[in-house]
Subunit: 456 residues, 2 copies
Amino acid sequence: MSGFLFSQKKPQKKPVKKTTVAKFNYHDEFKRISDEVMTNGTAYENLGELTKGIGPRFSATPGYMKAVEWAEKKLKSIGIEMIWRMEAKAPVWIRGRESLQIKTANGDWKNIRMLSFGNSEGTGGKDLTGEIVLINSTSELNAMSVGQLKDKIVFVNLPMDPKIINTNDSYLITAKSKLISASVIAKTGAKALIIRSLTTAMDDTPHAKMVYYEPDDKVRIPAVSIGVKSADELEKLLKNQKVAAKLNMTAQSKGDTTNPNIIAEIQGKKDSKVIVLGAQLDSWDFGEGAIDDGTGVAQCIEVLRTFKALGIENNHTIRIVFYANSENGGQGREMYAAYVKKKGEKHVFALGTDAGGYSPRGFSLDMSPQRRRQIFEWKNYFLPYGIYDFDQTEAIQDISPLKKLDIPLAELVVDTQRYFDYHHSEQDTFDKVNKRELLLGATAMTQLIFIIDKNW
Amino acid sequence: MSGFLFSQKKPQKKPVKKTTVAKFNYHDEFKRISDEVMTNGTAYENLGELTKGIGPRFSATPGYMKAVEWAEKKLKSIGIEMIWRMEAKAPVWIRGRESLQIKTANGDWKNIRMLSFGNSEGTGGKDLTGEIVLINSTSELNAMSVGQLKDKIVFVNLPMDPKIINTNDSYLITAKSKLISASVIAKTGAKALIIRSLTTAMDDTPHAKMVYYEPDDKVRIPAVSIGVKSADELEKLLKNQKVAAKLNMTAQSKGDTTNPNIIAEIQGKKDSKVIVLGAQLDSWDFGEGAIDDGTGVAQCIEVLRTFKALGIENNHTIRIVFYANSENGGQGREMYAAYVKKKGEKHVFALGTDAGGYSPRGFSLDMSPQRRRQIFEWKNYFLPYGIYDFDQTEAIQDISPLKKLDIPLAELVVDTQRYFDYHHSEQDTFDKVNKRELLLGATAMTQLIFIIDKNW
């Protein structure tokens, strides 16, 4: 089915109908939601269609547009009438061919599995050769004398800290290191940057990341990642000998285009205030984008399906946003926040889900203490579903730009142990997702939106 | 290395040394334990050796003895000096060849994937043929007239209830159904029993179970399981036509032999009271016995390794028991309880782990209200490790016979969503286990044993 069946602008809303106020037994209502999702939920099958049927859906590619059309069709099939597109800017970046080789003491060139960072400069398809210099701490970098890294290829072998129980935390600590910034490394005169993959797995799968060049970067150096086994072998090798590397990438940026966010909603029966939930629709240009973030897409659809299937009379409008180009720029989320501000729409609550569809454990609550306390009062309704953790306070997913508009934000908190084994790698595939875990997440999201809709 | 290096009887203990009472900052001690396990833990690598290196280790088979020798060697390698064997009775059952075919209206025989129940009678290698009759509820069974099931093959297609959030609960509810008892079905005059696999997965993998014949069973009928896809197709077929089945199994029981429990301990520095933790060493005769219960074995070893590595001065003796033939009879656990009773050994606490090595969520506490309250007071120490659930009260693992001796029991409670996808099937393999989840479970076990050792 073509996307042209769906409006490119928001359709006119039907007049709002007033309903009488009802009292709810939330224990029973939560069970009714759970029973519906766990028995009739289609999130897993939908995820299979999105990941196995469409595959990678990188921004500004035909894959992304196939995902857009699939999402619109799917939302229509569950009885959603209000579906529209909101175009957002998207950078065009094409990976092309890429290879990394190292030359050891005996003179052989050896291939190393690698992935270019997204938006990385290429080498113009020519060999970029240089000596590898290992740097594993900021103090090591600072101790280098001027010119010492000139024309070198810097190799940063920083592992994620296994001692940090929440792997989101250890990922962010490592990801924010200045050592893995192409901008910082370029200022030393180095020619390229090789990074140990940010992963919890001990394999040789490279995991990618976006590179952001600063406007004042005089030279934009290529940045690539290698698997942890290769990284550890390379570090070992460098202890005994000099190692030269040969990098060849045809990667290039080709300006900007646009990509649509998809928006769909069930109108409020009481008013036109909005509860928004969302996930990123785009993925990387390899793997299947299952845990990042096909699971979030499938769970958001499941929430609306469940509201429809149970005939829930929602007070406020329940809206999904599927954000465009989350992985390379985040213009989709910025566009949505700008739209809300411009329209002056009143948003009661915004929920994000982008953590892999693993077994849910709670919600992080980025909102006023008063709002947090209200949710704390509902904790016991959630406990039978394994949801107990309401202590985290960060919303860093695609809803984050809505913070400026003083909208209460929350994110689904899941078990974090497996996510970074597969994140941003070709291992991010459908088989990494468990059906019941995925559905339990959708259950918790529906329950939270239900109780907020009735009380805020 | 041969098992002869290890004692077959309990070695003499060294004299107990008194130590001074120290105060502990449990927050710091818990972190020290976690850091050691998450950084240097070898449970995952050990699990790999046990599952990929040895493979199935069914009771009374050479595989089991290989596992015994591996466990002894492994325990010795981490510096445990007290290691001994305790022989327990074990039934000998040999699966042999097995096949199930169904004959449809057009006269074709079609193979169906199946697994004999453990300890099931075979068909003596001859074809057992009969008409299939579907029964899906006790009332359907009760409504049958006398003789209606005579010489029939009963097919029970009872799914696990997807609405029950804790899959252990839904498994036990279904597993305890009289409908899947070969004894109950045999009394109707039926010739054989075909069961829908007890699983949460929607595939065609058959999952086995043990069959227990009652002493008064006049006839012992064969019982087999089939995958859920086959089961659903068969039920559909039976709505439109009669279906004949042909079962052929050479399975047979060959009396009893013995199998050793493995026992290993670190002596108490203060007294000879015992804290025992354990797991089943045996597995089914297919798959790799990874989640059932290689993970428990690996976690128990990890607890002792961590006590050793951190040089923890344990007040009481910390003892591991690896139980023999847990899957077909449970004589290993009964033997251990009888030993404790006979010796009059004072056990302070017993911990079980047999739930698949998934992300830990708490401990079920089967003990006096006073002891439970003491553990509740320690909850906040566990929370940073995702351990929050101390509400369950059942200990059904291999420690259960110790209940008669008034020993406080606890089991590691993990995320239950994935376990029954693989349980008792050829899918129970090493790749179903995540390293960090496994280590987090071992961390929580070590922490609990540490704090109990200091306080009880």
